[in-house]
Amino acid sequence: MRYSGAMKHETQNTGALAGTESTASGQAQANGPSLLLRGVRKAYADVQAVDGLDLEVARGECFGLLGPNGAGKTTTIEMCEGLTEPDSGTVELLGLNWSTGASQLRQRIGIQLQETQFPDKLTVEETLRMFRSFFKHGLPVEESIQTAQLEEKRSSRVGGLSGGQKQRLAMACALVGNPELLFLDEPTTGLDPQARRHLWDLVERLKQAGRTIILTTHYMEEAERLCGRVAIMDHGRVIALGTPQQLIASVGGEDIVEFAVGSGEPGSQQTGHGVVDAAELTAIPSVQSHRVDDGLHQLSVSELHTAVPRIFAALRAQGLHLSEFRTHSASLEDVFVRLTGRNLRDE
């Protein structure tokens, strides 16, 4: 009884929404960027969290902010969300800024924060109904439950949801206002691989629906899969910006060869590592670069099929025995390693 009444009402609401949307898109800002950051800085005590950031995100884009923990991703996204005030620089969303257009912006963006705990004793539907009530226009609660695939959990209390379901609820709360711009702060951190894939599917669907999405992550594969464009951040700065393909191409090779060597004589493995003559390896035409990380040599290689035999030959000539050898296609992870000299997981 109660549902049918509420649904009927919300259907009317969507009708009204369709009207407002068509007029809004006819306005001047329609062609401007969804998000514009110019020279944004923010310091906490003696830590420069964000150090001069310029970003521009077009409408309908899925943009990824990537970086290790502490790179300044969350500070950046919270300045975009109007939760943190930048020390200097300008933040513009949908052609508005937080000092004059705050109340309008709040209605038009959707936010999912890192580690929000919704009240355990409210049900999924009650939580969504509450968040829906904050927005003048938005999706019917029913539809946001469906989008987040929480139909079966509709009447379950939040405390009884799994990590992935809680995260999908957070997503549904971000969506319920039918936002033009969606911020997702590390949506899959702490989730198991299956829940992560499930959430990726959800983001894919939102992308296809044409929403602008800005997401932060420290999983490179997530950014590669979801984002049209990514900015890699480190120490509060953008150190690389482009499509995942562009960034991967910038490593110089399409493939990465990793190997470790032992000298062949027992007990002298330690010295075996140092003996590799890197110059001989980089002299191979298709080898673009070489680096060593904890005894593991990494080569970025453009033509795997010709390079591998020559690498084998070069190592044999140096009297070295391979104890490990593998190759993989270059990923954003390799881009990060190349740019910072660190592994993401080192943090």
Partner: protein, 245 residues
């Protein structure tokens, strides 16, 4: 109805009610605990009828004179046994026959012993033939409103209101902050005043229930009387509640 369902103030306030109703401990502390406390204290400190005081005397003549008073029970003891009974607290006063009259042995720092002294002296003087100069009679009053429970109930009510306001409002906001829910709400277009207002509204509604249930119980179980006007009670309760939060 639809209009109400989509009002954010209504949704926030309903959320407060739901969270409270789904917290069994909160229900216990707000509604059951003060009643248990009132029952416990009411029984422990209930007014008893005046005790009959134990006294002793060294002669049967004195014992009879003492026993004639309804407020005393008397036993005949020799002086040594009487002194021992005094020391062990079995009697409050020992009347000793002396050649020139009577001596009372008692502890003047004990109020009951002082009462026993007055009663014993009156009984012995009366037995010896003293007559009252003025005729006197007693009219006994057991007024409700001046008992221990009558003072405890308003105190418990105040304590309960302030306590539940503090836990229900102050603590709930601190918790929302810790769980980053407050940040999430601030990031939404929720009007901030409505967040606080939802707490106040749910508090005030709970307040009515709390006050009616508790005072109703005090009235039925202990016959605690109510004097003064209802609006003053209401105002005081609201002020207490606000102050507690």
């Amino acid at each position: 109805m639809n209009k109400l369902e989509t009002s954010s103030l209504y949704q926030l306030t309903m959320a407060r009610f739901r969270l409270l109703a789904r917290e069994p401990e909160a229900i216990f502390w707000i509604f059951i605990f003060p009643i248990l406390l009132a029952v416990g204290l009411g029984i422990a400190f209930r007014n008893r009828p005046a005790d009959v005081l134990q006294v002793g005397a060294t002669t049967t003549q004195l014992t009879q004179a003492l026993a004639a008073d309804k407020g005393l029970t008397a036993a005949t003891l020799d002086e040594a046994a009487g002194t021992h009974a005094l020391a062990t607290g079995n009697i409050l006063l020992l009347a000793i026959q002396r050649p020139d009259g009577v001596a009372y042995k008692y502890d003047d720092t004990n109020p009951d012993a002082r009462t026993a002294r007055l009663l014993a002296d009156r009984a012995i003087q009366a037995a010896a033939g003293r007559r009252d100069a003025v005729h006197a009679e007693n009219q006994l009053v057991h007024e409700t409103g001046a008992r221990y429970i009558d003072f405890v109930v308003p105190g418990l009510l105040g304590m309960n209101l302030m306590g539940s306001a503090m836990w229900g409002l102050g603590f709930a906001i601190v918790e929302a902050r810790q769980k980053k829910l407050l940040k999430r709400l601030v990031a939404s277009p929720m009007p901030r005043w409505q967040y606080l207002m939802s707490f106040l509204l749910s508090r005030l509604a709970m307040l009515v229930v709390e006050v009616v249930v508790f005072l109703g119980f005090a009235r039925v179980a202990f016959g605690v009387p109510f004097r003064g006007s209802l609006w003053q009670l209401g105002l005081l309760c609201v002020l207490t509640s606000l102050q507690g939060s």
